[in-house]
């Protein structure tokens, strides 16, 4: 029972990271109908930016983290202005390839820095453990969960109570109507990309103590992708629930199912969810596959 709880706690933490990346993916998709294949690269960039600001530039850790998120958010906004907005209204594959190419450039850019290409790094926080009775939690996992909860609350407040948030929502529901009502749609697209990129960077920083910062850390986005689909692709709470669900199921599958099942579970689930709820998913029922 104890080992079950231990594994469950890891699953929840990893699920939160999946959820955050899925959230960033859905945020962008909802607002701009762009399928982004560079969320993993943005995540990696966030990790390295934090590292560079903290270790190379000597900023305090908290400041470096905030700086990294802002920098990546700015990059997202900049890319939207320069390149990504041209994919709007084009077939999905255009955006898929565009973001894939941009992600490649980011990976190449980081790989050009010799110190980044040949080493793995840790950000010096959260190495301890917390004991709750017999249950022992890794501090890094607790951080992930706490940060996710705070972020989700902030996002909820943003979407409910701020002008920009409401405008962004309107824009995601129906861009044409929003434009008629005076919402600056183009600026909302930039905002969505900034948010999406920033969220991915946050996920990267949260992942840093768990998998360390290295060139291939963005591969985790491959799992966030099914999470987003499980959650309905257009539902923000759904994405988070999808991520959590996936993280937990994956961890538990590793514990109880036979060898190797753990790695296929996300994709089998994805396939099953797609086949069983094609309408439900498209309609964006919150947590359609996540409950």
């Amino acid at each position: 029972m104890l080992s079950f709880l231990q594994v469950l706690s890891s699953g929840i933490a990893i699920g939160c990271v999946y959820g955050l990346v899925a959230l960033s993916f859905v945020l962008v998709f909802k607002a701009t109908e762009t399928v982004s294949f560079m969320q993993g690269d943005l995540l990696m960039l966030g990790g390295f930016a934090g590292l560079a600001l903290h270790l190379a530039a000597g900023w305090p850790l908290a400041l470096a983290a905030v700086g990294a998120v802002l920098a990546v958010a700015l990059l997202g906004a900049g890319l939207e202005r320069v390149a990504l907005r041209r994919a709007i209204g084009q077939p999905h594959l255009v955006a898929v390839l565009l973001t894939f190419g941009l992600g490649m450039m980011m990976r190449g850019g980081v790989a050009s820095v010799p110190a980044a290409a040949q080493d793995m790094y840790r950000l010096p926080f959260a190495a301890d453990t917390l004991g709750i009775g017999p249950l022992v939690l890794a501090a890094s996992h607790v951080w992930v969960v706490l940060a996710t909860v705070v972020l989700v609350l902030l996002l909820a407040l943003f979407f409910r109570h701020t002008r920009a948030g409401l405008a962004l929502r309107a824009c995601s529901e129906d861009a044409r109507v929003a434009a008629l009502m005076g919402v600056p749609v183009a600026r909302m697209h930039t905002l969505a990309w900034a948010l999406g990129a920033g969220l991915a960077a946050v996920a990267g920083l949260l992942l840093a103590p768990i998998t360390f910062v290295h060139l291939n850390m963005g591969l985790i986005a491959l799992k966030a992708f099914p999470a987003a689909v499980l959650g309905g692709l257009t539902s923000l709470p759904g994405a988070l629930a999808g991520g959590l669900f996936l993280g937990v199921v994956e961890a538990l599958a590793g514990l109880v199912l036979p060898e190797g099942a753990k790695d296929v579970v996300p994709y089998v689930l994805l396939m099953a969810a797609l086949l069983l709820f094609p309408q439900g998913l498209a309609a964006g029922r919150a947590g359609g596959g996540g409950r």
Partner: protein
């Protein structure tokens, strides 16, 4: 007139000389020897690629500064295949045909090695010391292919045997990366245990790039293993140890040479204290280094702006073996002559603490042995000699 005749004679000698050997041997000219290196600088093992390449560059630079090998400068032609066999094949063709590489050294990654080796051998070039655990890199015997990385299977068998005998373990388990690397280690561990009349008690795998190993560790704990062999790379080694310590499981773990890296304790900190590892080449710690090693570390730092690691030493040693063999071969450098020289040279242990490498006419695998090390006070300490 006399002068003219002398000139003609000299010219003839030069022509005859070049046509006799240098001009006929690809990659060897009067002034240069080209060595090809297909690396992974952007793929999954890019973290090895850069230091290996830099170590080799450093040794070649030194040889060139000392006047080259019999007056010929060494040039390392590097191609990045990024672990993609298609790019590997094209890189091999380019190096064979355009750069006319005399030898290929330290090709990186099994798929790339397997795809490029036939190209290299068919062109009659040397295939030296590839980074792949695959048996095909030295068997069946081929006059031009040589390997000096101890196969995981061989040294893990010896290491497992030594650990189990010395520690009296009864339930040896395995956590492995489910690719060619993990499978090789599994074979070695199984053979080692078999020879002691034991079997592998429990095993569990993970996919390369896996984020979380908590379920695997929980599985091994449920089986009550008393020794866990890790066929992992640095990150997963740290993750497995940290997870075990987190849930309060004080089990002994033994990692292969792929986890024997300074990064393991730099990243893992206290969590990896006490971890056993197999070393096929010691990490170059600046602290407590002998004077030669300290000097080498300083030069490496000055040249590349980064501290050397075990892979830099590996690259340097491979290039060193190449330089020494080429020197011993003499002025008439051909792949065949180089190979015959390599078969009779013995590379004794040096200031790095590397094993002695030795090839022969019927064995082209230079080393089969590793030694045990343990992380004590935040650094790897060697605890045995090379295990036979």
């Amino acid at each position: 007139m006399k002068r003219l005749r002398r000139l003609a004679l000299a010219l003839f000698a030069a022509l005859a000389g070049t046509s006799l050997h240098a001009a006929d041997v690809a990659g060897v000219s009067a002034r240069e020897i080209v060595v090809g290196h297909i690396s992974d600088l952007s793929g999954p093992i890019a973290m090895l690629g850069t230091p290996v390449r830099d170590g080799m560059l450093m040794r070649f630079d030194e040889a060139n500064a000392a006047g080259g090998v019999h007056g010929r400068r060494l040039r390392l032609a590097v191609e990045d295949a990024g672990y993609d066999p298609k790019r590997g094949v094209l890189a091999a063709r380019k190096l064979v045909q355009r750069d006319k590489a005399f030898a290929f050294i330290a090709t990186m990654g099994t798929p790339v090695v397997m795809a490029t080796m036939p190209v290299v051998l068919e062109a009659g070039r040397l295939h030296l010391f590839p980074f792949s655990p695959h048996k095909a890199t030295y068997e069946p015997l081929h006059p031009l292919k040589f390997q000096n990385f101890a196969p995981y299977q061989d040294y893990m068998e010896a290491a497992t045997r030594h650990m189990v005998q010395a520690g009296g373990y009864r339930r040896t388990c395995l956590l492995y990366q489910d690719d060619d690397y993990g499978l090789e280690v599994m074979k070695g561990v199984e053979t080692g245990l078999e020879r002691l009349g034991q079997t592998l008690f429990e095993r569990t795998g993970y996919k390369r790039g896996a984020t979380d190993l908590s379920s695997q560790v929980a599985r091994l704990r449920a089986a009550e293993c008393d020794l866990v062999v890790l066929a992992t790379v640095v990150r997963e080694t740290v993750a497995a140890m940290a997870e075990a310590r987190r849930i309060g499981w004080k089990v002994d773990m033994l990692v292969t040479a792929s986890g024997y890296s300074a990064q393991t304790h730099e990243l893992g900190g206290d969590a990896v204290e006490g971890l056993y590892g197999v070393s096929v080449l010691p990490h170059p710690y600046a602290e407590g280094a002998n004077s030669q090693l300290a000097d080498w570390i300083e030069r490496y730092r000055a040249r590349f702006g980064a501290a050397p690691n075990v892979w830099s030493v590996m690259g340097y040693s491979l290039a060193d073996m190449f330089v020494r063999t080429a020197e011993a071969t003499g002025r008439d450098l051909t792949p065949e002559a180089f190979a015959r020289t390599l078969e009779r040279l013995e590379f004794t242990r040096d200031y790095f603490g590397s094993p002695s490498y030795r090839f022969s006419a019927d064995d082209h695998l230079g080393n089969r042995h590793g030694r045990l090390a343990q992380i004590r006070n935040g650094r790897w300490e060697l605890i045995t000699d090379y295990l036979r």
